[in-house]
């Protein structure tokens, strides 16, 4: 459950101040699949950063599962990101010269999960994301574009304790990925919240609850 009320975000201060978000309010219920649309520069990314607890808001309130996130410190935000948020970035940002497995494991490493469990969960989520076992030990710079997307999605999903709500935030999802999301991932866990950003209507076709 995500509730935001009257949030604003202002970059800079004084004469150079730029208000990217001007009083946005909405609620996303558990299990919803949301697409945020708008032209370039309309504040989608800023909103996504705030929803993903990467950035703090200037004014307003943000409740994630009933918890007020807008007042947390950097360290507490890092904790929330580690446990509740999965990111897939626009450019995917896999670690270079690092194996697929290691890339997917990364959130688990920071969460302090044991070696065996790490391995097992990474394999499971990679298989679910459509990667074949033989690719697990490939380095990230040896992958095709589609594989990179799958690995990035697997990495966002790997840290997934069942009893938590997950807002998955996808940045500029293209058509094929959108289909893949629909088919394989979106309905794995009914309580999971998915948020995607897009400029066109295409991905919205994939059974989003609202857009």
């Amino acid at each position: 459950m995500i509730e935001i009320k009257d949030i604003t975000k202002t970059y800079g201060s004084g004469d150079t101040a730029f208000q990217a978000l001007k009083g946005i309010s909405f609620t996303i219920k558990d299990g919803e699949f949301i697409a945020i649309m708008g032209p370039s520069g309309s504040g989608k990314s800023t909103l996504m950063h705030i929803l993903g607890c990467l950035d703090t808001l200037t004014t307003g309130t943000y409740f994630l599962d009933g918890k007020d996130v807008s007042t947390l410190t950097d360290e507490e935000l890092a904790e929330i990101r580690r446990l509740h948020v999965g990111f897939v970035f626009q450019s995917f940002n896999l670690l270079p010269r690092t194996t697929v497995m290691r890339n997917v494991m990364l959130p688990l490493i920071y969460a302090g999960v044991s070696d065996e469990e790490r391995d097992e969960r990474s394999r499971k989520v990679l298989s679910a994301a459509g990667m074949t076992e033989s690719h697990f030990s490939h380095l990230s710079n040896q992958l095709s574009g589609g594989q990179i997307q799958r690995v990035a999605i697997a990495r966002a999903l790997v840290n997934d304790p069942s009893h938590f709500v997950k807002p998955f935030i996808f940045d500029n999802v293209n058509n094929s990925t959108a289909k893949f999301l629909r088919g394989d991932l979106a309905l794995n866990r009914p309580s999971r919240i998915l948020v995607i950003l897009c400029q066109s209507i295409i991905p919205a076709r994939c059974r989003c609850n609202r857009f």
Binding site: H49, A78, R82, L83, F89, P96, Y110
Partner: protein
């Protein structure tokens, strides 16, 4: 983040750019090895000097006539002014000062020596039987001067090996042959074991004769040039030295110690002077090594700052998926410490090798002490932490959004 994960990340990061990591490590290797090698050479030099001073004898106190001039109208007696120590002074020290192991009275001067067509100019020292004990002189062939020979002022001589070589040729048997000192014939009864030089004089180029013979036939008076006293233990030396000064002041009827006509030299004083000189030398050498270590440390900081800039996006990503500041800081600090620890281990090995090589040249007997190894290792680890902390902190403080956007 677990320790094994940090080591894994560190290994991956450092092996990603092997040449750069290698060069940075080289800086630390040079720093650490120079500290170890320099300190070992310094310690070695210090040990060499101390041991050559100790080879003069142990617990030694030397009393020499002072250059004290007469005050007022007394005619300055020049060299004669130094003739203040007598056989009786030596006798009194032996009998009246506590904790004295042995006393040796000496008369030393240089003479032209002749023997069967060869001749040399060397130091002739009149000594007692105690000399061999006090000054650690050992006889290689024959015997040393005995009390009987001294009391009867026999014309016998013990040669140093260098003098023997000069007069009779190397390795020849000189025992029983005769030499002429100041025109008088002395019979050779022994040759000493070689001791090596002590810097200013060659202890092996010397002739020993009984002190009474020296006084009777050579100097012609009752004065001594040196009284050597051996204390029973190193602890009592200061006390023995003070007692000797009091006794001699009393015997020479001098009330003001500043006007004493003799000077008392404690071997410990010589040792401490020499060791303060050599320890200064060691500090100097260590400082030179320390500077190269500092330069190596700056190299590490430089590399780590470059790394942080290069991996800004990676840092942003790590933070976005939940890495805490402390995780990022630990990761970059671990890389810096790993560089210095690897450099430290290799540097210690290299320093050891250098010190071993210097040893082989035979100039100085170097010694690598455990403490200098531990110190160098500690310093290298601290260097890593100090020079790695700033870049690591910079990485940890990066804003994840800005970092992800960084190109």
């Amino acid at each position: 983040m677990k320790f094994s994960d940090i080591t894994h990340e560190t290994y991956a990061a450092l092996s990603a750019n092997k040449v750069r990591s290698g060069l940075t490590i080289l800086g630390i290797v040079i720093g650490i090895s120079s500290v170890i090698a320099m300190v070992s050479i310094g310690t070695g030099a210090s040990n060499t000097i101390s041991s050559s001073i100790e080879s003069l004898g142990s617990n030694l106190i030397q009393i020499t006539p002072g250059a004290q001039q007469m005050r007022g109208f007394g005619a300055s007696s020049g060299r004669g002014g130094a003739k203040t120590l007598t056989n009786e002074d030596a006798q009194a020290i032996a009998e009246q000062v506590a904790d004295v192991e042995a006393v040796d009275s000496q008369v030393s001067s240089r003479y032209q020596i002749t023997a069967k067509g060869t001749n040399t100019n060397t130091s002739v020292t009149g000594v007692t039987a105690n000399y061999s004990q006090i000054r650690n002189v050992e006889v290689a062939e024959g015997s040393f001067i005995s009390d009987t020979q001294n009391n009867s002022a026999s014309k016998v001589a013990v040669l140093g090996p260098t003098t023997r070589d000069d007069l009779f040729g190397e390795g020849t048997n000189a025992i029983g042959q005769a030499i002429r000192i100041n025109g008088l014939e002395f019979k050779i009864i022994g040759v000493t074991v070689a001791k090596g030089g002590t810097g200013f004089q060659n202890q092996d180029d010397i002739i020993y004769i009984p002190v009474r013979s020296a006084q009777r036939y050579l100097s012609g008076d009752q004065y001594l040039t040196t009284i050597a006293v051996q204390a029973t233990t190193p602890e009592v030396m200061t006390q023995v030295q003070a007692d000797i000064i009091l006794l001699l002041l009393d015997r020479h009827k001098i009330s003001d110690a500043a006007l004493a006509d003799f000077s008392v030299l404690n071997q410990n004083d010589i040792l401490s002077t020499a060791s303060s000189v050599t320890s200064t030398l060691t500090y100097l050498l260590a400082a030179i090594g320390g500077i190269s270590l500092l330069v190596g440390g700056i190299g590490i900081m430089n590399m780590m700052l470059t790394t942080v800039t290069e991996r800004t996006r990676e840092i942003g990503l790590r933070k976005a998926i939940g890495a805490k500041k402390s995780d990022i800081r630990a990761q970059f600090l671990a890389e810096a410490v790993a560089l210095t620890v690897i450099g430290g281990v290799v540097g210690i090995a290299l320093g050891w090798l250098i010190s071993f090589a210097v040893n082989l040249t035979g100039l100085v007997t170097t010694s690598v002490s455990l403490s200098s190894v531990l110190l160098a290792f500690g310093v290298s680890a601290i260097t890593g932490i100090v020079f790695g902390y700033y870049p690591a902190r910079r990485a940890a403080e990066l804003n994840p959004i800005e970092a992800l956007r960084y190109e």
